[in-house]
């Protein structure tokens, strides 16, 4: 397994504002690295630096053995990039646009056509090949964005929020495509939804306020996420002090008088004890719903680990 991307101590300042600070990581072939973080965490800045659209204030990026700063052309030959807004010339047809992208990425003239057909098939663009990009829906435009990033079969594919604006069916198709590409390429994708990372990524990296706070494989992540939440409804108002006294209960938020959101540690799972307490006090349990883990839960856990 060869190292495709080596990012060393990347920092980026916009004036005095620090967007990312001392970010270092590597990407190997066959890895799908999910970049996870809330809005404004520095995901897009990092992606722009990796794709050569933005120069880092300090640090360097090596792609496939070539320094992105000094040997930009060679480094970019093995790079495909989908920015957060797909870069599309809207007055061209899909075919014309992809043909131009193929030329730009230096695909030899005789193999452009086969690359074009293969990419259109992969991204489900065959039926719209001759239509103007401006007239296509957002979902199709997003797919064209992905198509231009993979048409030259690059070793490294960088996708900035590839599934934003797609319907659930399209999201599944794109995820399948990413999984397929992940076998023999290195992929970095950014997202702010945890389920997407769990669906397609082999590794995950969490960025928060410009700093990497976690780099793990997916299995590692699942172990790291030690918190879960439940929603509990009772008929009578429960006593919060009694409930929060249980081991493993991290926080209790009263949504209304009879509804509570309880966050707890998984390995100390206090749910059983909580239920027993509620019943024995006669507060009458009405509903208990597990809440899907959100980004917030992860951040709570991770920041607590760090302190």
């Amino acid at each position: 397994m060869s190292i495709l991307i080596n990012a060393e101590h990347l920092s980026r300042y916009y004036g005095k504002h620090c967007a990312i600070k001392d970010v270092s990581f590597t990407l190997a072939q066959g890895e799908v690295l999910g970049f996870l973080g809330p809005n404004g965490a520095g995901k897009t800045t990092t992606m722009q630096i990796l794709s050569g659209n933005l120069a880092p204030s300090s640090g360097r990026v090596v792609i496939n053995g070539y320094d992105l700063q000094d040997q930009a052309k060679l480094a970019k030959l093995s790079l495909g990039y989908l920015p957060d807004t797909p870069p599309l010339y809207k007055d061209l047809s899909v075919k014309e646009f992809l043909y131009y992208c193929a030329q730009l990425h230096g695909i030899p003239k005789k193999s452009i056509n086969s690359a074009l057909i293969k990419t259109q098939e992969r991204c489900g663009l065959m039926t719209v090949a001759d239509r103007l990009i401006a007239n296509l829906s957002k979902g199709y435009q997003q797919r064209i964005g992905i198509a231009q990033a993979i048409i030259h079969n690059p070793d490294v594919i960088i996708l900035d929020e590839p599934t934003v604006g797609l319907d659930p069916l399209q999201i599944r198709e794109i995820r399948d495509l990413i999984l397929e590409l992940g076998h023999d390429h290195g992929i970095i994708l950014s997202t702010h939804t945890l389920s997407e990372v769990q669906a397609v990524c082999t590794h995950v990296q969490i960025i928060h306020q410009g700093q990497l706070i976690l780099k793990e494989s997916i299995d590692g992540l699942n172990q790291q996420i030690d918190t879960a939440s439940v929603l509990i409804s009772t008929r009578l108002k429960p006593d919060l002090a009694v409930l929060s006294a249980h081991d493993g209960v991290l926080s209790i938020v009263a949504i209304s008088e009879q509804q509570l959101k309880i966050t707890y540690r998984l390995h100390e799972n206090p749910i059983q004890r909580l239920i027993e307490t509620i019943i024995s006090h006669g507060w009458e349990l009405q509903e208990l719903t597990p809440i899907k883990r959100s980004m917030e839960d992860i951040f709570i856990t991770l920041t607590q680990h760090n302190h």
Binding site: S51, G52, A55, K73, K76, L77, D91, Y100, L104, H105
Partner: protein, 252 residues
């Protein structure tokens, strides 16, 4: 090199996808055709008198030179409208990252854009040239002078385009780029006007004036000073554009 051509071809084709290029070519042609006909008419009126004078002004002086001078002025108004979108609009539409993340250098991008637009303007110059050429069917023309005029106009539009391209890399909005280009070009055009007043002559202003060099070449006096002025002018703005695009990655 092939990348420059790829980008230039795309740029050239894109110009014709919108009505912009067609409109500009049509407007240019209609106005210049009117001027051309007026000049031909003037020549017809003057011809009996001119025929009696030895070494008097010829067809080229009365028809061709005014035609190309006016073309120079009209292109001064039109070129900023064409160049304003070059980089600026790509940046606004966020399509610039397609070029920035492709294996092409800044110089490739700038030269490609430059040559793409310049091809349109060269095409315009060629279409204008068809008018004086049509005179050949009924008379003779001072060919040297015609070629000098064509050369002068070609050098002029290369300088215009380079200025416009640079402004387009700087500005955040196309109209700002157009205004900036127009301002610079018009200033350089009128810089020479003070030369008419004997006491206020400035050699520096005279050298900087784009009009003076243009007229020198037009008159058939092709000197290296004038040619190198245009080449230096064009090259400086292209190099500035490449630097400005490189800055794009440094600060946003």
């Amino acid at each position: 090199m092939s990348m420059i051509l790829t980008i230039a071809t795309r740029e050239f084709k894109s110009l014709f996808l919108s009505p912009l290029a067609w409109t500009l070519l049509a407007v240019l042609q209609i106005i210049l055709a009117y001027i051309f006909l007026t000049q031909v008419e003037t020549f017809n009126l003057l011809q009996p008198k001119l025929a009696t004078i030895d070494g008097a002004l010829g067809l080229a002086d009365i028809v061709v030179t005014p035609l190309y001078s006016n073309a120079g002025i009209i292109l001064l108004l039109i070129t900023p409208l064409l160049t304003m979108r070059l980089i600026c609009e790509e940046r606004r539409n966020k399509t610039l990252s397609l070029l920035l993340s492709a294996p092409v250098s800044n110089a490739d991008i700038i030269l490609g854009k430059y040559l793409g637009l310049l091809s349109l303007l060269i095409l315009a110059v060629l279409i204008i040239t068809l008018m004086p050429l049509s005179l050949l069917s009924g008379g003779s023309l001072d060919n040297g002078k015609l070629i000098a005029n064509i050369l002068a106009l070609l050098l002029l539009v290369s300088a215009y385009t380079a200025t416009g391209l640079y402004m387009s890399t700087l500005a955040s909005h196309p109209t700002v780029a157009a205004m900036g280009t127009f301002g610079i070009l018009l200033l350089l055009w009128i810089l020479d006007w003070s030369a008419g007043l004997q006491e206020q002559r400035s050699e520096l202003f005279e050298y900087l004036s784009i009009l003076r060099h243009f007229q020198n070449i037009q008159s058939g006096l092709i000197s290296s000073v004038d040619i190198s002025y245009f080449l230096l002018f064009t090259a400086s703005f292209i190099i500035l554009s490449i630097h400005s695009l490189a800055n794009e990655r440094l600060q946003k």
